[in-house]
């Protein structure tokens, strides 16, 4: 009787098994890479906005303080988005006829709020509090990047949990003196290894074990 399997059958089987296992691993790697990619997380993408507001112009060039518009950043969980009235405090005096600002003027005239597209997004089961971060020496740029260089506002961090954790595990690498919180160009000074722990003590920041309690962010 003829053999059912040719001599090469073993090799084919091994090759098939190898292909399947390598393929499975490859699939996981690809899925992981895509899931973590900027394409999915939206990093570096500036969405279309009703008014092409430039943080570079207002904050970087004119030097308007962050807190002029984001009024509740030091006292509340949300930093706050400026009501149309805040825009019009200046724009009722300057650039009053600029076509670019028509939606703002219409908003005020018609009592119809502006619909901004959200840039920075965290999932609904994460509860972030701006006030406690900025008062404990974490600057805006640590999460939002150098806003004063952004023509259009874009996302610079994926806000995956590992991003939050790298700071909650090692806050001493990221804390700043209070005057530096609003500095968009802040980089860790050479002696951060000495300053950091001192600042952590000064701000009464909890230890890493406490800061990584689930209940710090999730409810």
């Amino acid at each position: 009787m003829r053999q059912l399997f040719a001599p090469g059958a073993d090799a084919v089987l091994r090759l098939a098994l190898l292909t399947v296992s390598v393929g499975a691993i490859l699939l996981l790697v690809v899925v992981g890479a895509v899931a973590n990619s900027d394409y999915i997380s939206g990093v570096g993408i500036a969405p279309r906005q009703p008014v092409p507001f430039s943080h570079k112009h207002h904050s970087g060039e004119l030097g308007i303080d962050c807190r002029y518009c984001h009024t509740s950043v030091e006292v509340a969980a949300t930093a706050g988005m400026p009501p149309t009235h805040t825009c019009m405090t200046c724009h009722s005096q300057i650039w009053t006829g600029a076509p670019m600002l028509a939606p703002v003027r219409d908003s005020l005239a018609n009592d119809d709020p502006l619909h901004w597209t959200r840039v920075n997004h965290i999932p609904s089961y994460v509860y972030f509090n701006h006030s406690v971060h900025v008062t404990k020496g974490i600057g805006c740029s640590s999460c939002h990047g150098a806003m004063d260089h952004m023509q259009m506002t874009l996302r610079v961090q994926s806000f995956h949990m590992e991003f939050c954790l790298q700071c909650h595990r090692h806050p001493e690498e990221h804390v700043r003196t209070p005057d530096q919180v609003w500095n968009m160009d802040w980089g860790a000074p050479p002696d951060q290894a000495v300053r950091g722990p001192a600042l952590v003590a000064k701000y009464h920041i909890r230890n890493a074990a406490q800061l990584t309690d689930c209940s710090i962010c999730h409810r």
């Binding site: 969405p47 509740s72 709020p113 901004w116 509860y127 999730h218």
Partner: protein, 969 residues
């Protein structure tokens, strides 16, 4: 399969269910034990494989987060204090039957989301009840009436006013000839003044008041005793004995919040003096008052009446008439207590007690010197006018051509002998105003939607006569108007808005600066300081001969308001429907209550459907056998059997109004029971979540050795839990817990807990994070079923939230660390990690974990979504959830404390259940903070850990219930 083990009775003889331990009942319990029920229907292998493959494939999708870019819409002009996430609190009132309980309404981002107690309110003193807690859901109810209807078709206010213009001219000319107003329960002084003014302008106008949970017997009793109708309330500080004859001191109703607090404070005060404020309570139907009494007695209405006369005779120095032996013993002991505490005791009767009992109780108080000290009176606070029976006879006499029904639903809840619907159809112009397009709205010409108390201006009295403010916390969601605004459509040439009407009443025509100041004060405190109804001193009139009790012949029918939907006003509220009734723990329907002796005679068991026949009319409902119900009494509750298609309440339960006569609203006389042969399985949560162990409820008898754990901590092989900094803990006082369920509803409101519906509750899938167990004692009904009058043993209520065990078994069970401890001692539940193995629930000895089987929160109406607390995650399908100690409130306080460098003060974090509790039975705080309230409660010799022998080291512990010295009853 061996029996699903449970404990028959523990050493102290307490049980949760009458049949527990009875071998014959094993099958029943197994059937009711939801997990076991599901096991009986195991799918075959192929179906199993298919299900597993499908769920594996889909579980990946379910985990996906919808990360769509959403919008930020800042306002055009931001009002002060309205920053995103800002919380504003308004002092307002929650209404029960027109009476007020002072509350604080928490409004977040402009939306009222939670009712909190108002600690500064003189009556409610920080407490709330289920009706107040659930009212916030009522506001967002998408089934509320949203527009004016003419002949059940949508219309608008302009059309209504145009249609009214002609008749209004006639009425003004004729002085309201043929016009009648039927008002629901209202204590509003401004509305009363408005109606009085209208009656002055239209002398022919007839005013009637319809209160389904009628207080007529209370007023009639005071009229007989003191010569005029009066409102009764209590000040129990310093009280040394309480005797309740069919009383409702602790039961749901307008009196509950304030009276329960008075009782709890007095009980603590007596305990501090090494005594015990003992309560003697007798009543026909199991109630919270009867359950919490130290000397409860089941007694039929006729016996209660005889007992009242017996006590009154003793007070007058006469010999009492013959009583059944148990009632006699009870009366003698109660009399000794009353006699020994003259001037500092209180005798009380509930709104459903007969007028002769009410009169005897009032005379007793006057004779014992309690009146004016512990028992106080004011003028009647409810709007007084002829009742529905008077209206019905006037309608029959053709004297009513136009009828305005304001905040009432008489087509549903009119007594059956009035034939109201038929008489209504002969009225020419019928106008109805109400929150819902209810049964009455379907039978009228014009239906007008009213505003919810959370969205309109108004005022109301609390039971003690405090004048309270109702203030809006949001613009009306729909096109409704408040009752005063609707009356203004008739009374004023140019209709006025609710704020103007209310200010005109309280500030007078010219608002002086002083009056303005008082108004501002009222806005802040929720109380009109100058509007209190004054106390009245009473003088007993000569007692007429006591009416003989009615002859007993067959079982007596008694009516009671339902403990969760009351007279029907809560029937469309899903939280109230799914709230377990305090004694039976039945949800989503009402039952026919009978005692065990009657059940044995009639061969009836819980679930048998019976037909009740009284006066030629019948209703059908399922039987519930209450161990603590007097023999010869059949109890039915109001509020169910609604018929408006499409409403939440439609088709639930039976309609007890169909047997209720206008001359006997609470005691319906003789009733006959007929078996129908049908059996109905009711959804009762009492058997779900059964714990194994012993000594669940401990009782501290007066003068006995402490039953608490003291400083004893069993040794353990595990390392001690390391607490660095705060250590959150809770202590629940079983002595003052009255089982009112306010905490359960508060928890549901605060934590976005889903409603699952009757079918899911039948499968044991209710989602309440906090349950209230009831324990009854073996000495009670089961073995010696009460006859017409029979002594009972006290019942105990035990709220069971998550224990936050320091050595938590659930954490060992979780394969993905979705439940674990934080450094402040909280047992956390991380929803986004949970993969739904349910192992934690299996490992939990307290059975406090709830699994979301079917994404109950998804698909809620948009308006219901508006109610949700944005600080709490809305849990999805396949996730375990449980009490978090209100971690969102802790997190908020912690963030504020960190930000401002201020420590969290004792009382800085209050859980929702703690805040809601009318008797302050729940204490919460930081155990590591020296001198904190919860740390002091830990020192109480009554403190013990539930299932402490398992060495889970629970952070939630209990204070044993107090009881008279053993053998002294």
């Amino acid at each position: 399969m061996p029996p699903l083990g449970f404990v028959a009775r523990d050493a102290s003889g307490q049980w949760r269910r009458a049949a527990e331990g009875d071998p014959a009942a094993l099958a029943l319990i197994r059937e009711r034990y939801p997990a076991a029920a599901d096991l009986l229907r195991t799918p075959d292998r192929r179906q199993f494989m298919r299900l597993m493959a499908a769920s594996l494939a889909l579980s990946g999708l379910a985990g996906c987060d919808d990360d769509t870019r959403d919008e930020i819409v800042p306002p055009v002009n931001q009002a002060e204090g309205s920053a995103p996430g800002s919380v504003l609190t308004y002092a307002s009132s929650a209404l029960v039957d027109g009476f007020a309980n002072g509350v604080l309404v928490k409004s977040r981002d402009g939306r009222p989301i939670k009712i909190e107690g108002n600690p500064g309110h003189p009556w409610s003193r920080g407490g709330t009840d289920v009706f107040g807690q659930a009212s916030v859901l009522g506001l967002y109810d998408p089934f509320r009436s949203q527009s004016v209807q003419f002949d059940t078709r949508e219309s608008d206010w302009a059309a209504f006013r145009a249609a009214l213009a002609g008749p209004l001219g006639q009425w003004r000319a004729s002085g309201g000839q043929g016009v009648a107003i039927l008002l629901g329960p209202s204590t509003s002084p401004s509305l009363a003044a408005q109606l009085a003014a209208l009656q002055r302008a239209w002398p022919q106008l007839r005013l009637y008041v319809h209160v389904p949970a009628t207080r007529a017997a209370l007023y009639e009793g005071t009229r007989q005793a003191f010569g005029r109708p009066l409102e009764t309330h209590w000040r129990l500080s310093g009280a040394r004995a309480i005797v309740s004859l069919d009383g409702d001191l602790l039961d749901p109703g307008p009196q509950q919040v304030g009276a329960a607090r008075e009782w709890a404070d007095a009980r603590h005060a007596q305990a501090a003096a090494d005594g015990l404020l003992e309560m003697w309570a007798a009543g026909p139907v199991p109630s919270l008052t009867l359950a919490k009494a130290d000397h409860p007695l089941a007694a039929s209405p006729a016996v209660v009446s005889a007992m009242a006369q017996w006590l009154l005779a003793r007070a007058d120095g006469r010999a009492g008439q013959a009583l059944p032996p148990d009632a006699r013993r009870w009366c003698e002991a109660a009399w000794r207590a009353l006699d020994g505490a003259r001037g500092s005791a209180a005798v009380m009767a509930g709104l459903h007690a007969a007028a002769d009992v009410q009169a005897a109780v009032q005379r007793l108080n006057a004779s014992l010197g309690n009146a004016g000290r512990t028992v106080l009176h004011t003028a009647p606070l409810l709007q007084q006018a002829p009742d529905l029976a008077a209206l019905a006879s006037d309608m029959a006499a053709g004297q009513v051509q136009a009828l305005l029904m304001l905040g009432v639903n008489p087509v549903y809840d009119a007594p059956c002998d009035l034939d109201f619907a038929a008489r209504l159809s002969r009225v020419k112009l019928k106008i109805h105003a109400g929150l819902y397009a209810d049964e009455t709205a379907l039978n009228v010409d014009w239906h007008l939607p009213t505003t919810h108390p959370l969205e309109c201006w108004g005022d109301a009295y609390a039971l003690d006569g405090t004048a309270c403010l109702v203030q809006p916390t949001i613009r009306p969601l729909y096109d409704g108007r408040s009752l005063p605004e609707i009356v203004s459509l008739l009374a004023d040439a140019e209709p006025r808005n609710g704020l103007d009407l209310l200010r005109a009443h309280w500030l007078g025509p010219d608002a002086t600066p002083a009056a303005e100041q008082r108004w501002k004060q009222a806005l802040l405190s929720g109380v009109f300081e100058d509007g209190r109804s004054p106390l009245v001193t009473v003088q007993a009139t000569a007692a007429p001969a006591a009416a003989p009790g009615p002859a007993a012949g067959g079982p007596t029918l008694v009516f009671r308001p339902d403990p969760t939907v009351w007279d029907g006003f809560g029937a469309d509220n899903a939280w109230l429907q799914e709230l377990p009734k305090p004694i039976s723990k039945v949800v989503w329907e009402n039952v026919v209550g009978i005692g065990p002796a009657l059940a044995a005679r009639e061969h009836l068991a819980t679930g048998d459907v019976v037909r009740l026949e009284a006066g030629g009319r019948t209703i059908e409902g399922p039987v519930w056998v209450y161990g603590a119900q007097a023999d010869g009494v059949v109890s039915v509750t109001l509020g169910y059997g609604r018929s408006v298609a499409g409403q939440l309440s439609a088709g639930l339960g039976y309609n007890a109004y169909a047997l209720r006569r206008s001359d006997a609203p609470w005691d319906g006389g003789t009733v006959t029971l007929h078996r129908t042969g049908e059996h109905r399985t009711m959804a009762s949560t009492q058997d779900h979540t059964t714990m194994e162990g012993h000594d669940f409820v401990r009782v501290q008898h007066l003068g006995a050795a402490p039953v608490g754990d003291g400083a004893y901590r069993p040794p353990t092989l595990y390392p001690d839990h390391q607490s660095d900094g705060r250590a959150w803990g809770m202590v629940i006082d079983l002595d003052t817990c009255i089982g009112c369920n306010a905490c359960v509803t508060a928890c549901q409101s605060e934590n976005n807990i889903a409603v699952v519906g009757r079918d899911e509750v039948l499968r044991g899938r209710e989602m309440h994070w906090l349950r209230v167990d009831i324990y009854q004692s073996t000495a009670a009904a089961q073995d010696a079923a009460p006859a017409e009058a029979g002594s009972l043993a006290p019942a105990h209520f035990m709220p069971v939230p998550c224990m936050h065990c320091e050595q938590a078994p659930c954490e060992v069970g979780c394969p993905v660390e979705a439940t674990l401890h934080d450094h402040e001692g909280l047992n956390l539940m991380v929803y986004n990690r949970c993969i739904g193995t349910r192992a934690c629930s299996g490992y939990c000895p307290y059975k406090v974990r709830r699994f979301n089987y079917a994404d109950y929160s998804a698909g809620a109406a948009p308006s219901i979504v508006e109610q949700r607390n944005p600080d709490v995650s809305v849990r999805a399908r396949g996730v375990m959830e449980k009490c978090t100690y209100c971690v969102q409130r802790i997190a908020e306080a912690r963030a504020a404390s960190d930000r401002d460098y201020t420590p969290i003060q004792d009382g800085g974090v209050r859980t929702a259940c703690q805040d809601a509790c009318p008797t302050r039975a729940i204490t919460f705080g930081d155990l590591a903070l020296p001198g904190s309230e919860v740390a002091r409660a830990h020192e109480d010799p009554r403190r013990y850990a539930l299932l402490g022998e398992l060495n889970t080291r629970p952070r939630t512990t209990y204070l044993a219930a107090r009881a008279p010295a053993a053998g002294d009853s």
